[in-house]
């Protein structure tokens, strides 16, 4: 392990870490925003549930490198465009979260929703003020899984020439240089931990009543 490599390349590491964060993080937010209405539909409209969950399951089976390579056919972009990776990662996040959101909303206790209705909550307000907060812990657990897997998958995008922390892995392998491999591995794992901690902290802030329960 050549420590001077790390200090010499510190600004480059930070730049690639930022690129990695965008490629993994933006899809996480987009995927969640699309999964919320779709999951709500799946939980609410009985006949829509199988096609929605089945469809997202199908999307999830496509291997990452294959999806990256196929994105230009769908989007008409060049193969090294970053938007390919963003869209592909959004698809994965969405595929994972639609089921989680549907499960989470269905698990909201009936007593709570009925009480809210009896208190005069209109459907939309009830959804935002009662159903969604109560479903948040489960949705957050799905989001954590998606975040960790996104960070790992984004490094594969370095194979199609999109810059991120995975470049340290490919370049380290090409040059048979262990230091770069370590930089790539450790920085990816640290970034995954950062995502995980942020989601947990935000979940805690959003669900203060859970403080008494568990970490």
């Amino acid at each position: 392990m050549d420590w001077s490599y790390v200090s010499d390349h510190w600004s480059q590491i930070m730049e690639r870490a930022w690129q990695h964060t965008i490629l993994a993080g933006v899809p996480l937010v987009l995927g969640l925003l699309i999964a919320l209405p779709l999951g709500w539909l799946a939980a609410r409209v009985r006949w829509l549930k199988p096609p929605l969950l089945g469809g997202s399951g199908l999307l999830y089976t496509i291997p990452s490198l294959a999806l990256f390579v196929l994105m230009p056919v769908v989007l008409g972009t060049s193969i090294i465009a970053r938007v390919n990776v963003i869209v592909a990662m959004t698809i994965y996040t969405l595929a994972l979260l639609v089921r989680t959101v549907a499960d989470a909303l269905e698990a909201v206790p009936n007593a709570a929703t009925q009480a809210a209705t009896a208190m005069g909550y209109a459907p939309a307000r009830r959804f935002l003020a009662v159903d969604l907060p109560l479903a948040t812990p489960v949705i957050a657990s799905g989001l954590r899984v998606a975040a960790v897997s996104n960070v790992s998958i984004v490094s594969v995008a370095s194979l199609i020439g999109v810059s991120n922390l995975g470049i340290y892995l490919t370049s380290g392998y090409d040059r048979q240089y262990w230091t770069e491999i370590w930089v790539g591995l450790v920085s990816c794992i640290l970034l995954a931990i950062v995502f995980d901690v942020i989601i947990q902290v935000v979940t805690r802030l959003l669900t203060p009543w859970q403080k008494a329960c568990v970490a």
Binding site: L65, V69, L96, V148, I153, S155, L159, T170
Partner: protein, 253 residues
């Protein structure tokens, strides 16, 4: 662009020979199947034992945290560590590291599936079996394992997807299989081959998942098909942090 991909896929010349689609498809299946088999032999008994005995459950958590390690890095590290250990004109320098990494990646979902499957067996069913005078082994074989099958299968299906996806990437450390078309196509700017092989990889993953779904339907007792009570119980289990880590077991890369 779609026409070019179609032309590549339907050109008979692309299917034959050692670098042909047929041979590489068989390779892909063989590497994936072998890794899944090794991982299953390790993870299924281990997960069952952990859940049955209640011991060493930290192993499941530890295996789960492995998911944060990028599989691309694992492949490259394994190749650099191991491939120089083999000399002579063999496939071993890339075969051994690839199979080891694929096996490592298949273990966490299989372990989690077996563990949570056996753990979440209805305690009433277990107690009833004991009360009927079954021994520990009989409870395991006749009650716990059949009841655990749905989750074991969901673990197996996500492990399969993970392995097929990573076997594609393993082309970069010299493994054959369909990934070789992607690697060469991207490197040589032959987009039709890269995209055509991507379609094949996607179809392969879909077909494998579909096949396992059919097997699951045949093997799992009809009594366990999602009924109201069962789904409700599972949902509640999903809310606990331990189950959350195991919940959507199909995280992969």
């Amino acid at each position: 662009m779609i026409n070019q991909i179609w032309t590549w896929l339907t050109d008979g010349a692309n299917w034959s020979g050692d670098d042909g689609i047929t041979h590489r498809l068989v390779q892909h299946l063989w590497y994936s199947g072998l890794s899944l088999l090794i991982a299953g032999v390790i993870a299924l008994p281990l997960g069952t034992w952990i859940a049955h005995s209640g011991r060493a459950s930290w192993l499941v958590t530890a295996a789960n945290s492995l998911r944060a390690v990028p599989s691309l890095g694992l492949l490259f590290a394994a190749s650099m560590l191991l491939s120089s250990k083999f000399t002579g004109d063999t496939d071993l320098p890339y075969l051994v590291p690839s199979i080891i990494v694929l096996t490592i990646l298949a273990i966490p979902p299989l372990l989690a599936g077996a563990y949570s499957g056996v753990r979440e067996v209805d305690p009433a069913a277990r107690d009833a079996a004991r009360g009927m005078g079954m021994t520990g082994g009989e409870v395991l074989r006749q009650v716990e394992l059949p009841n655990a099958l749905p989750l074991i299968f969901s673990g197996l299906r996500s492990a399969t997807l993970q392995v097929i996806a990573t076997a594609t990437i393993a082309a970069y450390i010299g493994l054959g299989g369909l990934g070789a078309f992607l690697r060469d196509g991207i490197a040589l700017n032959e987009y039709d081959a890269a995209a055509g092989a991507s379609v094949l990889v996607a179809v392969l993953a879909l077909a494998a998942d579909l096949l396992l779904g059919v097997v699951q339907r045949l093997v799992v007792s009809p009594g366990l098909r999602t009924t109201r009570t069962r789904t409700r119980r599972n949902r509640r289990a999903d809310a606990t942090p331990a189950a959350a880590a195991l919940g959507p077991t199909n995280a992969r890369s």
